[in-house]
Symmetry: C2
Amino acid sequence: MKKEVLKEPIFTEKIVEIIQTAQSSDEIREKLTDYHDNDIAQSFELLSQEERKLLYSALGIKWMAEIIPYVDDIDQYIEEIGMDQLANMINEMDADDAVDLWEELDESIKDKLRPRINHETKTDIRLINLYDDDEIGSLMTTNYICIKQNLTIRQAMHELVRQAGENDNIITIYAVDDQGCFCGAIDLKDLIIARETVELSTLISYAYPYLLDHQKISDSIEKIKNYAEDSLPVLDKDKKIIGIITAQDVIEAVDDELGEDYAKLAGLSAEEDLNETTKESVKKRLPWLIILLFLGMGVSTVVGTFEGVVAVLPIVICFQSLILDMAGNVGTQSLAVTIRVLMDENLNSKDKLLLIFKEMRVGFCNGALLGILALICLGGYIALFKGYSFGTAFLISGCVGISLLVAIIISSLVGTLVPMFFNKLKIDPAVASGPLITTINDLVAVITYYGLAWALLIQIMKIV
Amino acid sequence: MKKEVLKEPIFTEKIVEIIQTAQSSDEIREKLTDYHDNDIAQSFELLSQEERKLLYSALGIKWMAEIIPYVDDIDQYIEEIGMDQLANMINEMDADDAVDLWEELDESIKDKLRPRINHETKTDIRLINLYDDDEIGSLMTTNYICIKQNLTIRQAMHELVRQAGENDNIITIYAVDDQGCFCGAIDLKDLIIARETVELSTLISYAYPYLLDHQKISDSIEKIKNYAEDSLPVLDKDKKIIGIITAQDVIEAVDDELGEDYAKLAGLSAEEDLNETTKESVKKRLPWLIILLFLGMGVSTVVGTFEGVVAVLPIVICFQSLILDMAGNVGTQSLAVTIRVLMDENLNSKDKLLLIFKEMRVGFCNGALLGILALICLGGYIALFKGYSFGTAFLISGCVGISLLVAIIISSLVGTLVPMFFNKLKIDPAVASGPLITTINDLVAVITYYGLAWALLIQIMKIV
């Protein structure tokens, strides 16, 4: 008998089958307890509206409150769920889920829900909305366990069980003093395996790392990652604990930070997704393009001064795009490396100098190799297909080769210095560097190439 | 009295102070229990070698085994720790930490350590090394709690406490059947708050999501993120649980995936860091550059066919760089958006068609706006500074404007279709698309611009 090989699980189809074949609501409940809430949420789009309504009523408010946070595009189901039911679900949700959902809803839906939302949920939403999107406070959740530091082990365990009903981030328990100020953290594992005779204070790490609510996310994300904790406490200026950041929040933050940097490198002012309107997309892309257009016009006027060279030796225009493209590509590579290094590490002046020298060395090696390649290939091409003598052909391709080398070295340097400069000014280097680097590189490449062509080919060798 | 405002914590300096002023090893141990292992690790570089050696012996093997995983650049401390001690620490480490550290070490150090590493650690290292870097198995850790499904609540709790000494990922407990096959998961919280009379099976989610050891990381990272669990089990083809993926592993994987995409968008074959040699960096950057050089040479031959246009109307070369740069920028924007959309979502054909139309609409809007801007500004510039009549000036700038519009629309289309095409072929669109898009866009822009200039300005209007 051939042994069956395990495949990737597809739970959604089984869930659909359960709902379609079940004889009663109880049977649905009973059978679905084994499934992950995310899989139940993913099955929504495979069900008909009737089947979904059956599911909503079978699972009930409490369970639905745990499933809703996993649903993509909740908007399309709001009507069939109904405002009263949805409000009840939001009231039942963990604080962070309620806040996340609230941010997704349309203003008209919010207006209808507001009178039905309870005080506690409203307070949570208000708290998180106090913070700017780039502040740690905007990421946090109030879903955590917090106990007095002077309890016994037994009292602490009892308090944990009590609070665990409401809050499910239990892996780290936070301790506060009599004034309610944060004083340390307890690892759940230590509490579970501790003997009852031990003092709780021996389990508390009193110098536990914490975050401040108004701290910038981009400044602290590396630090948070380094602690590799399942959660870190967020304190306000009075040392009161007001929330925590969980590993799941960190995943989202890392995703966002890198996604933003990725978008900026490509000249978008923010990340886009599939469902945006044309207008929103144009708004995100146009600013950079307009800046580039005007900088490009500046470059054009410089190219214009070399009209004389082109008029007498038109072949040189063939290779302008080659040199400019290569300079641009090399500049982008240096820019990407520099931005990542600036983001990842705390560099001192020595490190920065090392990075600059490294980029120049890499630029020199790449430039020399590419320059020689261009010299040989283009020299052959010009001699064979453009009807120039071999001597003249290699003089022209020599100009291209040398220009490539110079342009690539300078592009490497510019691609490193410009982001460092913006970083020093506390301007996000990912967003500001692109246009400036493109322009400087274009100018350097054009001047080197046409300048060299003018000096070497026309003035010295007088090949025309 | 002015109230003190809470600042960001700087624990490392306090740790250094403790070590420098302590009277005995016991005092160091005693005082450092309050600090996070990461902060102790970060203090290493602020200490002298003597002070570090004092710290190593004060903390002992077991504690050091928890600190070492947080140390940056462990290499510099290996000698002062000593091979015997280091081997003991590795033997004490959590499995995943031991494997991570092992991968960082030089081959010569590994050779010295090998005879001193115990069997269990060797088995773990061998298991993880079985997998390719892009397979789920390479991310996993064997640090998890696993119990038989037929235990009572009391037995399960007892087993948990026993295993928690060795393994600290306790938030989800995995259940296996009598054959040792994975059958479900238990939430620690449910176990803690369960009454002793309840059957353990009622706490087990029997259809819990799992990953396969040979699954590709890039294919499953979105799915893993969606489950938002602190850990997911990894199974082999016989349904045996062989490890777990923790939220911390997911953070690393997300970071790596996005970092790689970011590098590829910039034309690097892999991510770089500060400490690489010039040779390694050249190797990562040169492949793309060489491809681009030859594609650029291809474009050059096409530009060459328009030598005639330039010879009679040299002013047109001024704006070549402008049009090519803009086409390139727009293409990169579309590319970046498309790659992120392809990565994030499972698109059907309808979604893809929508994305293509959206990109074309955005391209048309941006192209029209930028074209009109260019028409007006450049027309004025040519008339005022280049000595052409207003009519001729606006004919020339009209050529630039129309070329911009056409080039931008086509660039948007190319920037969307090319990555979709590579995605269809199962080739990573981020790495393959860049050079092809640059080249197609350059060709389109050059042919449109010079073609239009030749047809409109020279053939029809006969302005020369």
